[in-house]
């Protein structure tokens, strides 16, 4: 068993070293010629707000402060299960991309925090109020900055749509008011230990996952958000294709698949969203360069 594993690792490592350029270019597609000329356009805020309002299943009735408070509790719990990777350059890079992505939504004002967590599981998490986590296991599967941005954008969409608040409310015996009460409990006692009730409900939510339709919505919104940011609209799809190409029995995917629909279902749902895009965005080679530098540690 061990020997086979080692051999497999070696072969894969070798193969990756040598074919990474061609293979990854392949999945990036397009070819990446640069005609962007360094320009960036200011997005239209009014337009985005109306865009967000297009989707009606938004949770209302929770103060942003409470949302942020619950989100901090949730983030502390997740961080109890895995620490941020000790790589300041990488963490800052992910935050820069994340910030650029959230600027394409109408909730850019939230206290957004992004982090890569030192976990070999393949997963990403968001908490209310704007904490976004990507595991190192998932990061290592990604081929480009566009794919990273797409994963972040999927999580950002959950926050924009308050999917977690919705999920917690539907299981709290007092519904949304119960969740709001949890927020006030922890706000009063933040310096002390979080009450076990808050911790328990947060854990239950992440172990149970969100509503499946909210996952599909986050795929679709995430694709739009990332493409607004100028990234390849097909990048999230590429990530899902990668996930789909891994044996779903793999232990690294266990929690992901316990809490998410199968990648193939998500791909099917994403197809109509992608039909509006014919071409991948022309991305500057600069993006691949810095992805290689910060994520792959190649100079």
């Amino acid at each position: 068993m061990m020997t086979i594993l080692r051999k497999l690792t070696l072969i894969i490592s070798l193969a990756i070293c040598s074919f990474s350029l061609s293979a990854f270019d392949f999945s990036l597609g397009g070819g990446g010629s640069d005609d962007s000329g360094g320009g960036a356009n200011i997005f239209d805020i009014g337009d985005m707000i109306s865009g967000v309002k297009d989707i009606s299943r938004t949770v209302t009735g929770i103060d942003e402060e409470d949302e942020i408070e619950i989100g901090r509790d949730a983030a502390a719990v997740l961080l109890g299960a895995s620490k941020p990777v000790n790589d300041p350059e990488l963490q800052r890079y992910v935050n820069r991309i994340g910030r650029w992505v959230v600027n394409q939504t109408d909730r850019a004002h939230l206290p957004w925090r992004f982090a890569v967590l030192d976990s070999t599981a393949v997963n990403a998490f968001a908490t209310p109020g704007g904490n976004i986590f990507v595991t190192d296991g998932l990061l290592r599967l990604l081929n480009s900055e566009a794919e990273l941005a797409a994963v972040l954008a999927h999580e950002v969409a959950h926050v924009v749509q308050k999917h977690h608040i919705k999920a917690m409310s539907s299981f709290n015996t007092s519904g949304l008011s119960g969740v709001i009460k949890l927020a006030s409990v922890t706000r009063e006692g933040r310096s002390n230990q979080m009450t076990s009730k808050v911790v328990g409900e947060v854990k239950d939510m992440y172990l149970r996952g969100l509503d499946k339709d909210d996952e599909f919505e986050a795929d679709s919104m995430g694709t739009v958000i990332a493409s607004r940011a100028g990234y390849d609209p097909f990048a999230l799809m590429a990530v899902l294709q990668t996930l789909d190409s891994i044996n779903p029995e793999n232990s690294g995917l266990a929690l992901l698949y316990k809490t998410h629909p199968p990648a193939s279902d998500r791909l099917d749902k994403l197809e109509p969203v992608l039909d509006q895009f014919d071409d991948a965005a022309e991305e500057s080679p600069e993006l691949q360069k810095r992805f290689n530098r910060y994520v792959r540690k190649q100079s």
């Binding site: 061990m2 690792t9 894969i12 070798l14 070293c17 040598s18 990474s20 293979a23 397009g30 320009g39 356009n41 200011i42 997005f43 337009d47 719990v77 961080l79 109890g80 299960a81 620490k83 300041p88 800052r92 935050n95 820069r96 991309i97 994340g98 600027n103 394409q104 206290p111 976990s119 070999t120 599981a121 997963n123 998490f125 296991g137 599967l141 911790v199 854990k203 172990l207 919104m221 607004r228 940011a229 609209p233 097909f234 799809m237 789909d244 891994i246 044996n247 793999n250 232990s251 690294g252 266990a254 791909l267 197809e271 992608l274 509006q276 895009f277 500057s284 994520v295 792959r296 190649q298």
Partner: protein
């Protein structure tokens, strides 16, 4: 020199096979094979679901593919790539282990290679997690303010969210002055 030749040879051999394996796939749902990567291009054939294909390259939302005697373009969304490592005999070593080589420069993370492969954020670890406020506060160290957000020449686009209806809107936002903040390293 000779050594270099042989190692190059080995790498080339390994890479070509791995590369080929990576690009095999199937048509997921009935798809039209087009002569060019456009919807109004001539259609070459209708490929039924489960047709085995080789993906040659990607252009935007299209894959150029080969299937037995035919070659052309299909929508990216109609393709599923084959499972890596063979569907049947893949060992459950955790994806992290399988992917160790992916981030070439970062080396191997320090996980144990034995049975319990998943480190951090497995179901069990989440169940047993104790809230870590210090780690939470440490996230502030890497937060990026609006001014530092990095677009690196990315061109924003106006795209609407889709609810149930499909809309066609992919217009370019009007060009404005680039926001080109230099990021500090």
């Amino acid at each position: 020199m000779k050594q270099l030749f042989y190692s190059t040879l080995i790498i080339l051999t390994v890479s070509s096979s791995a590369f080929a394996a990576d690009k095999m796939g199937v048509i997921s749902r009935d798809a039209t094979l087009y002569a060019k990567p456009f919807k109004d291009a001539d259609s070459i054939a209708e490929l039924p679901a489960s047709t085995a294909i080789t993906v040659l390259k990607r252009k935007g939302g299209w894959y150029e593919i080969k299937s037995t005697d035919k070659q052309g373009w299909v929508r990216l969304t109609r393709v599923r790539l084959n499972r890596k490592g063979g569907a049947s005999q893949e060992s459950d070593s955790g994806v992290g282990e399988l992917l160790t080589g992916l981030a070439t420069g970062r080396g191997k993370s320090d996980q144990d290679t034995t049975a319990t492969a998943v480190k951090g954020l497995s179901e069990e670890e989440l169940r047993n997690a104790q809230p870590d406020e210090d780690a939470l506060n440490s996230l502030d160290n890497f937060a990026v303010s609006d001014a530092d957000s990095d677009n690196s020449g990315l061109q924003t686009r106006q795209v609407e969210f889709q609810a149930t209806t499909k809309e066609e809107s992919d217009s370019q936002a009007p060009a404005t002055k680039p926001v080109d903040e230099e990021d500090e390293e």
